[in-house]
């Protein structure tokens, strides 16, 4: 049975909305197990979101429209990104609207507004978090773009679904440029999703938090949206990595069976990737803020080496 492309698009959004909290729960669960704690369960993020949606919003007196608008924007950006990244199938009508470069800037818009919202209230923590987040962003984005350019060179296109198709039809197995780009992407993804060597998603300690400091003033449904979008962002970065580097299993057509097997493979790959993420998170200590230039500098270096080795070796 053939599915219409827009049906696949809707399926993707549903998968994104439903699976992202489960994935976040899975990561948390693995992390608890690896540290010898009992875990809150796979569906705890759902319960958290539902609880937050039923709570009242407490707004600061001097909160402007930016503060109220940002959660919706961040959530919308995550949804739109979910329509562009080939999570289940490469046959996406909305994929033509944006290539990977636009995808990066979509995430940048979300971050820009989050940083503004952090400063909007005028508390010290918000401003501190915003300034730290922008510092990281200014280092992470060039590395991210460089990794993406390397991938686009190898695939001959900047459209993500076409890139995935090129890799799916794969000719050469040993591509040093892709290996470098993957390593760079890994480092950037850790920084962008705020995982441990860069930022600790579980902390509310004043001096160490980065992303949490920006959204400290949010409550009720706003916080629910921001948290949900954060989980979606983690999920999206993982599926982006899958689509760009390990796309095997993603459906190339709208065939119902292919989409189902793509869903199965996605689950499998995400489950395994989460194990690696948790290994990184429990194995490393959080880095000092001033060490981040080296961390993200090496991401940029790896991406540049990937691009150079594309020209030199391929």
């Amino acid at each position: 049975m053939k599915l219409y492309p827009f049906v696949i698009e809707i399926l993707q959004i549903l998968v994104l909305l439903a699976i992202a909290p489960v994935f976040a729960g899975w990561v948390k669960m693995l992390k608890c197990w690896s540290q010898g704690r009992s875990s809150p369960g796979l569906f705890q993020p759902y319960r958290d979101i539902r609880k937050l949606f039923s709570k009242d919003v407490v707004l600061a007196e001097n909160a402007s429209w930016i503060f109220r608008f940002t959660p919706y924007l961040v959530f919308g950006v995550a949804l739109l990104a979910g329509c562009i990244i080939p999570i289940l199938s490469t046959d996406l009508p909305l994929a033509a609207t944006a290539d990977v470069i636009v995808l990066v800037s979509l995430f940048a818009i979300a971050r820009f507004f989050t940083a503004l919202a952090g400063m909007d209230i005028g508390t010290a923590f918000g401003g501190m978090g915003s300034s730290r987040e922008m510092t990281i962003a200014s280092l992470a984005e060039p590395a991210m773009l460089m990794a993406i350019f390397t991938m686009s060179l190898a695939g001959g296109t900047t459209s993500l679904s076409q890139m995935t198709q090129v890799i799916l039809s794969g000719q050469s197995v040993f591509r040093p440029s892709m290996a470098f780009a993957f390593l760079a992407f890994l480092l950037v993804a850790i920084a962008e999703t705020g995982r441990i060597p860069v930022d600790n998603p579980a902390t509310h300690l004043e001096l160490t938090m980065i992303h949490e400091a920006m959204i400290l003033e949010y409550s009720g449904r706003y916080l629910a949206l921001v948290e949900w979008a954060g989980m979606m962002k983690l999920f999206l970065f993982f599926t982006l990595g899958i689509a760009a580097f390990f796309p095997w299993g993603i459906a190339a057509s709208g065939d119902l069976y292919a989409v189902f097997s793509a869903f199965f493979f996605m689950g499998l790959k995400l489950g395994i990737e989460a194990v690696f993420l948790v290994l990184i998170e429990t194995g490393l200590a959080k880095m000092r803020l001033f060490r981040l230039t080296e961390f993200l500098g090496s991401a940029f270096l790896l991406a540049t080496l990937g691009m150079l080795s594309y020209f030199i070796l391929e």
């Binding site: 197995v173 040993f174 230039t293 090496s298 020209f311």
Partner: protein, 219 residues
Amino acid sequence: MQIAAQIIGFLAALVLLTAFGMLVQRRMTALIHLFAWQGLFLSISTAVVGFMAGQRHLYISSLLTLSLKVILLPYILHVLVRRLRIHREIETVVNVPLTMLIGVALVIFSYHLTAPVRELSTLVTRSVLPIALATVLIGLLMMITRRHAVTQIIGFLAMENGLFFAATSATYGMPLVVELGVALDVLIAAFIFGIFFFHIHTSFDSLNVEQMARLKEGD
């Protein structure tokens, strides 16, 4: 043939990666490990080149690389570091991100420099030549930017790795006699460095080469 060329390309990329890793690594043990890894990649790629080109003597030099640069020299350096209780380098002359950028510039430079050679050469391994040259230059950069005597020696040995790699990729290796001679030289050099380090350490209490400025007459 195509697969072998791809494997060599991949190993070349790994050699370059370890060269950069050594350039930015601060910890002494990790630095020696990276050096051993570089030797391992070099040895495998030499064997693959030998297999592809049907040159028997490359197997011998591959084994020589394996025994010397993967096992013996790292072992000597480890013993040295443990005896002298060096674990962490004091500081680099230039900060790490800038060193990385200079390294990238060196890769581009060597790509441009070897362009005419690549045009003329017919060997399958010709595309690896810029990486070999870049490894030499990065080793040199490491010797310049580090103040510690042991790191400078590792930089020197990494340069030698690059030269060996260049010889393998540009002409399918030097004659075996030359390679044996070079291997012996490197081994002897490592022993001499080791003895010198002990003496420097006992008279200066440090292996920071800045300290050696004290050697000259005061004015």
